[in-house]
């Protein structure tokens, strides 16, 4: 069906909020920069704030936008395929797989450039295991999520073991990596994720369309000329790739992929998370979480992942309670 008016309106409103949050995030902190100065600096005028705005804050806020979009889309895809709002990459083990691989790399003295590829591989491997366990029963939603939760717990335990048996200093580095943070990160990570998104753009356009049959049962979908198993596999693969990629770049910014798609879905009142609105909501969430992490206990900085986890925990409970109906 054509894109609904409500979806467009909601997306536009979230986009406006995101732009506002973007500018606010560039203003706030020490030193405070007035919005007018931020805009002047952004649009190429030379101002005394160029270093603060363009060098220190801009890369991080742009990264937050891209990270949030990746998590939002990844969560929307995986939740739609599993037909379960709990099935997000950080619940079903993908994030934990990336975490374990990164921890092993960090504690075994591997070079810094190895860490992101290792995390990517770990995330994909974990997803393959979970999909393998769940797919034996045709990706029946409940089983897939249960398999994912079990794998996530096992991977988490392994990660703890690796961290605790490593040199304390390496364990500490791994710990910081595990709680996703945008501090000290910027254009490099942004480029990787932006390239990933750009390359996947045609695939995402296909996904937005293909998702329309994801809520139908297999017989109905087959009757409409769809191969539901292949379609689900394709959609899940895109979601897994995005989730593993973004986790490899910034660590585990938990719960964004869980929360953003469902918030977007409720706002547009659709049967499944809309991709664009989920991406925008994810961006907004991460920009705000990173900002809050920077300001709340300044000068101490909290990783964005801590803030999103603090929001996500209660939200997860809310979902579990609501799920009864």
């Amino acid at each position: 069906m054509r894109v609904k008016g409500r979806t467009v309106a909601v997306s536009a409103i979230i986009l406006v909020l995101l732009v506002v949050a973007f500018v606010v995030a560039l203003c706030l902190g020490k030193p405070y920069v007035a919005p007018g100065d931020v805009l002047r600096s952004l649009f190429g005028e030379v101002t005394p704030y160029d270093v603060v705005v363009q060098r220190l804050r801009l890369p991080r806020v742009v990264l937050a936008v891209v990270v949030g979009a990746c998590f939002g889309v990844a969560g929307a895809l995986i939740q739609s395929v599993a037909r379960n709002p709990l099935a997000s990459p950080d619940v079903v083990g993908i994030t934990q797989g990336a975490g374990l691989a990164a921890t092993i790399a960090l504690t075994s003295g591997a070079a810094a450039v190895v860490i992101a590829p290792a995390a990517l591989g770990g995330g994909l491997l974990a997803a393959a295991v979970v999909l393998g366990l769940g797919a034996r029963h045709g990706l029946a939603a409940q089983r897939f999520v249960l398999a994912g939760v079990a794998v996530a717990i096992a991977l988490r335990a392994l990660t703890e073991i690796v961290m605790l048996t490593a040199e304390p200093i390496d364990g500490q580095r791994a710990h910081i990596w595990l709680v996703g943070t945008l501090a000290g990160r910027g254009w490099t990570e942004t480029s990787w994720l932006a390239i990933t998104l750009l390359v996947l753009l045609p695939v995402l356009a296909w996904a937005g369309w293909a998702l329309r049959t994801s809520a139908l049962d297999d017989d109905t979908a087959k009757g409409l000329g769809v191969r539901p198993v292949a379609r689900r596999a394709g959609l899940a693969a895109v979601g897994v790739l995005l989730a593993a990629m973004v986790t490899a770049q910034v660590g585990a910014v938990d719960f964004v992929a869980l929360v953003a798609p469902q918030v977007a879905r409720r706002l547009v009142r659709a049967e499944r998370p809309p991709l664009i609105a989920a991406a925008l909501t994810g961006s907004l969430l991460v920009v705000l979480a990173d900002l809050a992490g920077r300001l709340l206990f300044a000068p101490t900085q909290l990783p964005a992942g801590v803030i999103t986890a603090a929001i996500g925990g209660p939200y997860l409970l809310f979902l579990l309670v609501r799920r009864k109906s």
Binding site: M1, G208, R212, T213, A215, D219, L224, G225, E271
Partner: protein, 255 residues
């Protein structure tokens, strides 16, 4: 469009529901499949519509093996309504009927005026035009059933396969749906339906297929094959068969 099953075997897990089954569904006719519960009607319909793989034998759609034709192409020629489709949460009637257009669309050309027209027409034919903006999961069973029929009609196929399209409907709506299927046949389409009411089957069918325990016991024009003997044989029911006072079709009255 003609559907022929040759030497067909299908089933679930280790168990076959039917083996070496042969059946012909004539083009441009309204065929009704009847038989007691669990005799394999749905399994046959699902296999004919390539929803279930065949174990042996073949299903021929105008002479071509349906399981080796591209599934999208089949979906443009043959529409199928499964017995109890899962209702997606929070989808509106118009939106769900619109999914019937899937085989005519692609991701780079998602919606056309032709699609809008087909959805509008299908909703009108199935009598759900007034419900267009309602959520499907909040409708009554009968309304919902007609929405699914509308979705299948929106597919605009030459052949329609429907599994118990009249369950959940009150008598008036049952007749309405059967009349609608009759009109589809009059338009030249091939209509195949599983029905559980033998009298409705005898009244509406051009061609009747009676099944028991995974076998086709009889097939042909209802006036020729519906006898007390057949009903006892298929349903294990003693009855008398009299001509219907309205249409003259055989009417089964339990003895």
């Amino acid at each position: 469009m003609k559907l022929i099953a040759r030497d067909l075997s299908a089933g679930y897990g280790p168990r076959s529901v039917f083996e070496n089954l042969g059946v012909e569904l004539p083009a441009g006719a309204f065929t009704v499949i009847v038989g007691p519960n669990a005799c394999g009607k749905s399994t046959l319909l699902r296999t004919l519509a390539r929803l279930l793989p065949v174990r042996h034998g073949s299903v021929l759609l105008d002479g071509a093996d349906i399981h080796s034709l591209p599934t999208r192409e089949v979906a443009r020629r043959l529409g199928v309504l499964p017995q109890s489709p899962l209702v997606p949460e929070g989808v509106t009637v118009r939106d769900l009927v619109g999914r019937g257009r899937q085989p005519h669309q692609s991701w780079w050309r998602q919606w056309s005026d032709q699609d809008s027209a087909a959805v509008h027409e299908a909703m009108g034919q199935a009598g759900v035009g007034d419900l267009a903006t309602r959520a499907v999961d909040q409708l009554s069973g009968g309304q919902r059933q007609r929405v699914w029929i509308a979705m299948t009609l929106a597919q605009q196929t030459e052949a329609l396969l429907l599994d118990e399209p009249t369950t959940f409907l009150d008598l008036a709506h049952q007749v309405e749906v059967l009349d609608l299927l009759g009109r589809m046949r009059d338009d030249g389409r091939t209509v195949v339906a599983v029905l559980h009411d033998l009298n409705q089957a005898a009244r509406y069918a051009d061609h009747l297929v009676a099944m028991r325990d995974g076998r086709v016991v009889a097939s042909g024009a209802p006036r020729e094959i519906v006898t007390a003997e057949l009903v006892r044989n298929v349903f294990g029911l003693d009855c008398v068969v009299v001509p219907c006072p309205v249409t003259g079709a055989p009417l089964v009255v339990p003895a």
